[in-house]
C-alpha cells in the first residue's frame, strides 16, 4: 500500500483511500520540514564532504600503514601477500618502492626496519602522526562539547520566557535604529517579536533550539532556524545582520560562551546595527526559574552591570538601558541596547 498526499478539496474522490495521509493542508509545512532536516544535518560531525581530512588520512593509512590498524591475524597475513583488495599486483610496499623508483639496491631502497625503504618508514611515521593528531582533535572536541553542553536539552530545562510586554519596545527600538538587512532574534520562542518586526516591514528571522516550540512560528510561515544562536551566527558572513535581539539564551549560556557569542555578534552586525539583550534580573528571579533551572544557571543570570561590561569589551558602543515604557513592570527582566560603532 502507498500513502499519498490527500487530494485537493475539489478533486474527484476516489474509492476509499487505504491510508489518508492528511498532511495538514493549508499550513506552511515546507519551512518546518526544512528546519527539522537542517537541525539534524547540523549535528553531522564530519560535514557532507565524503573526502575530507579524515577520509584522506584513512587513504594514507591504507596505502602506507597496516591493512586495518589493530586488526586480525588474517589482516596481518594479508600484508605479506601478493595481492590486496585493490587487485593491484605486489604488496603496498612493493608498489610504493616501484612508484618511487626505489626498487632494487641503492640509497633508500631498504631501511633498517623490516626491509622497509626510508620513504616507506617516513610515510608510516606520517600516518602515525596523523593518527595521533586525529585522536587528539577528537578528545578536544569531546571536551569542548561537554563544556558547551553540560546537559543536553538545557533549553528545555531552563525554558526561555516569551518576550511578552517587551515585544513592542524592542521592536520599536530595532525598527528605529536598524540600518537595514536581516534582524535575528534568539531564542525567538513562539515568534511574537518576529511577527511585530515583519509587520513593520523588517526582514526578521528567528533562532529557537526547542524543536516543538519552533514548529509554531515555522508553521505560520516565519523563518526560524532550529538551532542555538552560536551555530546560526557561525554561518553568517561579516557585517550582514541589521540587528540582533538576544533573550532566553543569554540566561542559559556559560560565561565563556556568552563572551564568544558577543564577539561573533560584533563581527556579523553591520556598522551601526543594534543589539538588544533581554535578560533575567538575578535579584528578581521570575517564577519560571524553578529549582532545577536555578541550580543549572548558577552563577547566572548576570546583572545588568555585567552585561554592560561584556558589551563594551566586545566592542559595542552606546550601551544603555532600554526603556520598556512601563511594559516591564512586574517582569523580572531588564533590557539593554547597544550598537556597533559607525
Amino acid at each position: 500500500m502507498s500513502a499519498q498526499p490527500p487530494p485537493p478539496d475539489d478533486a474527484p474522490q476516489e474509492d476509499a483511500p487505504a491510508t489518508p495521509a492528511d498532511s495538514g493542508a493549508g499550513e506552511d509545512h515546507a519551512a518546518a520540514v526544512a528546519a527539522l532536516h537542517a537541525a539534524f544535518d547540523r549535528l553531522r560531525p564530519q560535514g557532507s564532504d565524503a573526502w575530507n581530512f579524515l577520509a584522506a588520512f584513512t587513504h594514507l593509512g591504507d596505502r602506507y600503514g597496516p591493512y586495518q590498524p589493530g586488526a586480525s591475524d588474517l589482516s596481518r597475513r594479508m600484508e605479506g601477500q601478493d595481492h590486496g583488495p585493490s587487485g593491484r599486483p605486489g604488496t603496498w610496499k612493493q608498489r610504493l618502492a616501484h612508484k618511487a623508483g626505489l626498487a632494487g639496491a641503492g640509497r633508500g631502497s631498504v631501511g633498517s626496519a623490516g626491509g622497509q625503504t626510508e620513504l616507506e618508514q617516513a610515510m608510516a611515521q606520517v600516518v602515525e602522526a596523523f593518527r595521533f593528531l586525529s585522536a587528539r582533535v577528537r578528545t578536544l572536541e569531546e571536551r569542548l562539547a561537554c563544556e558547551d553542553r553540560p546537559i543536553e536539552g538545557a533549553a528545555w530545562l531552563v525554558p526561555a520566557p516569551e518576550l511578552g510586554h517587551w515585544v513592542d519596545p524592542v521592536a520599536a527600538h530595532i525598527v528605529g535604529t536598524s540600518p537595514g538587512g536581516d534582524v535575528l532574534h534568539a531564542d525567538c520562542g513562539e515568534g511574537h517579536l518576529l511577527d511585530a518586526l515583519v509587520e513593520a516591514g523588517v526582514v526578521a528571522c528567528g533562532v529557537e533550539p526547542r524543536g516543538a516550540v519552533a514548529l509554531g512560528p515555522l508553521e505560520r510561515g516565519l523563518s526560524v532556524a532550529l538551532t542555538e544562536i552560536a551555530d546560526a551566527l557561525a554561518g553568517r558572513p561579516p557585517a550582514s545582520l541589521g540587528g540582533l535581539v538576544l533573550s532566553g539564551v543569554v540566561d542559559r549560556l556559560p560565561l565563556h560562551a556568552v563572551v564568544s557569542l558577543l564577539a561573533r555578534a560584533r563581527d556579523v552586525l553591520m556598522l551601526g546595527a543594534p543589539i538588544v539583550i533581554v535578560a533575567s534580573d538575578p535579584d528578581k528571579r521570575g517564577p519560571w526559574a524553578g529549582t532545577v533551572a536555578q541550580e543549572i544557571l548558577q552563577p547566572r543570570p548576570l546583572h545588568a552591570e555585567t552585561w554592560e561590561l561584556l558589551l563594551q569589551r566586545a566592542g559595542f558602543v552606546s550601551v544603555a538601558s532600554l526603556d520598556g515604557g512601563g511594559a516591564g513592570e512586574g517582569d523580572a527582566r531588564f533590557a539593554l541596547s547597544a550598537a556597533t560603532p559607525t
Partner: protein, 359 residues
C-alpha cells in the same frame, strides 16, 4: 571429508547475518554435510561456534564448497579469492559510503573497500546469492554471471515471536500510540525522520505518542546526534533508546507496540519488517531499497521524507482498525509467499547443485 563451510568476518549471535549464518549451518548439517564457520575476528559470545580463518588451510579439502557471507569489508575476501576452493558469495548489501561519510569516514571508506572486494570476487565465485532482488541487481551490476535470490534465515525464531504474538486489532491508545524502531542505529536507518514525525504527531494529534528505539549503535557519532536531536526537540520523555536487546525483549517490544516505523534511506532486506509481519504488527516504511519488495502490499509505504506526511500516515494506521486487520491479513499472505521456513533448505539445495556440478 569435504564439506560446505561458511566464512564470515565476525559472527555476532544477535544480528541478522549471524542468525542467518547459524541457520544455514544447521540446514547444511541436516543434509549430512560437514559444516564449520570460520571467522576473522573471534567474538567471545560465539567463540565455541567458530574457528579462526587461518585454521582453515590445515583443515581444507579440495572438494570443499566455501560460502562467504558478504556484508562488510574484510581481508577475508581477498584471502578467499586467492584460494582454490569452490567459492559462493552470499550478499547482504553494502551500505552506500556517502550515507556514512558525514558521520564516520572510516566506516565510509570501509564500504568503499567492500565495493572493491565485491568486484574482486566476481571472477572467483561460481554463484552469488542475494537475499533480495534489490540486492541481486547490485550483484549483476558488479559483474556476477550466475546469481540467485533466497531470503535470509535471520528473523527471530517462531517460538520467541509466538510469545509476543497477539491480535492485529488496535491497542487501546489511551496512553498514546507506541511507535517502534528496530535495527542497528546507523546513518542509513535515518531514524531522525521517525523522530521528527513523532514531534509532529505529538504536536498535532497525539501528545502522548512515544517511540521505542531498539538496536545497537553502529556509529557512535550518529547515535550521539540522535540523542541530542531528541533532547533539542523536547522529546526526552517520549523517546526511549533501548540499546541492544535480547531476542525475548525484542519480541516483547513487537507485542507492546502499535506500529513499526522504518524510515531507512537504504535497506538491503530489513529483517525487522518480516518479524513485525509475523506478529501482525503494522509496518509503515519509506519506499526505499528492498522495502517495497519485502513488504509487498502488507505494509504502508511512504514516498516523502516529509514528517507531516509520515505522521499522518502512521496515525491512520494506528487508529484505523479495519486497515490494521487488512494489513495483518496481507502480512500473513506475504509471509507465505516468502516461505521463510524453507529458505535455508532452498539455499542448501543451491549449494548442493554447485557441489554436484563441480564434482
Amino acid at each position: 571429508m569435504s564439506g560446505i563451510h561458511q566464512f564470515v568476518p565476525v559472527l555476532h549471535g544477535g544480528d541478522a547475518v549471524g542468525r542467518h549464518t547459524l541457520g544455514l549451518r544447521d540446514a547444511i548439517v541436516a543434509r549430512g554435510f560437514e559444516s564449520r564457520i570460520y571467522v576473522d575476528t573471534v567474538e567471545a559470545g560465539t567463540r565455541t561456534l567458530t574457528s579462526p580463518a587461518l585454521a582453515y588451510p590445515a583443515e581444507a579439502h579440495a572438494d570443499d564448497v566455501v560460502l562467504y557471507q558478504f556484508a562488510t569489508a574484510s581481508p577475508m575476501a581477498a584471502w578467499l579469492a586467492a584460494r582454490g576452493e569452490t567459492l559462493v558469495v552470499n550478499y547482504h548489501n553494502i551500505t552506500p559510503p556517502d550515507l556514512l561519510a558525514p558521520w564516520d569516514n572510516h566506516l565510509a571508506l570501509g564500504q568503499l573497500r567492500a565495493q572493491a572486494e565485491l568486484r574482486l570476487l566476481v571472477q572467483r565465485a561460481v554463484l552469488a546469492v542475494a537475499d533480495s532482488h534489490y540486492n541481486e541487481e547490485h550483484l549483476v551490476a558488479a559483474g556476477f554471471k550466475e546469481t540467485a535470490v533466497v531470503p535470509p534465515s535471520a528473523a527471530l525464531g517462531s517460538e520467541i515471536l509466538a510469545a509476543g504474538r497477539r491480535s492485529a486489532l488496535p491497542i487501546a491508545a489511551a496512553g498514546g500510540a507506541r511507535w517502534l524502531s528496530v535495527g542497528r542505529i546507523a546513518p542509513n536507518k535515518a531514524i531522525e525522520d521517525t523522530i521528527a514525525a513523532l514531534l509532529v504527531t505529538r504536536r498535532q494529534r497525539d501528545p502522548s505518542a512515544t517511540l521505542l528505539i531498539i538496536g545497537k549503535a553502529a556509529t557512535t557519532s550518529y547515535a550521539d546526534a540522535l540523542h541530542r536531536y531528541v533532547a533539542s526537540l523536547g522529546l526526552s520523555n517520549a523517546v526511549t533508546f533501548g540499546g541492544h536487546a535480547r531476542d525475548a525483549t525484542v519480541a516483547a517490544a513487537y507485542a507492546r507496540s502499535d506500529v513499526l516505523v522504518v524510515t531507512s534511506a537504504h535497506e538491503g532486506y530489513c529483517v525487522p519488517v518480516v518479524e513485525a509481519m509475523s506478529v501482525g504488527l503494522p509496518v509503515v516504511a519509506f519506499r526505499q531499497g528492498a522495502l517495497p519488495e519485502v513488504l509487498g502490499e502488507a505494509g504502508v509505504l511512504v514516498d516523502s521524507r516529509d514528517p507531516y506526511t509520515l505522521a499522518a500516515t502512521i496515525a491512520s494506521v494506528v487508529h484505523d482498525a479495519p486497515l490494521r486487520a487488512r494489513l495483518a491479513e496481507l502480512a500473513a499472505r506475504r509471509l507465505a509467499e516468502l516461505d521463510l521456513a524453507t529458505a535455508a533448505d532452498r539455499f542448501v539445495s543451491l549449494l548442493c547443485g554447485v557441489r554436484e556440478r563441480r564434482g
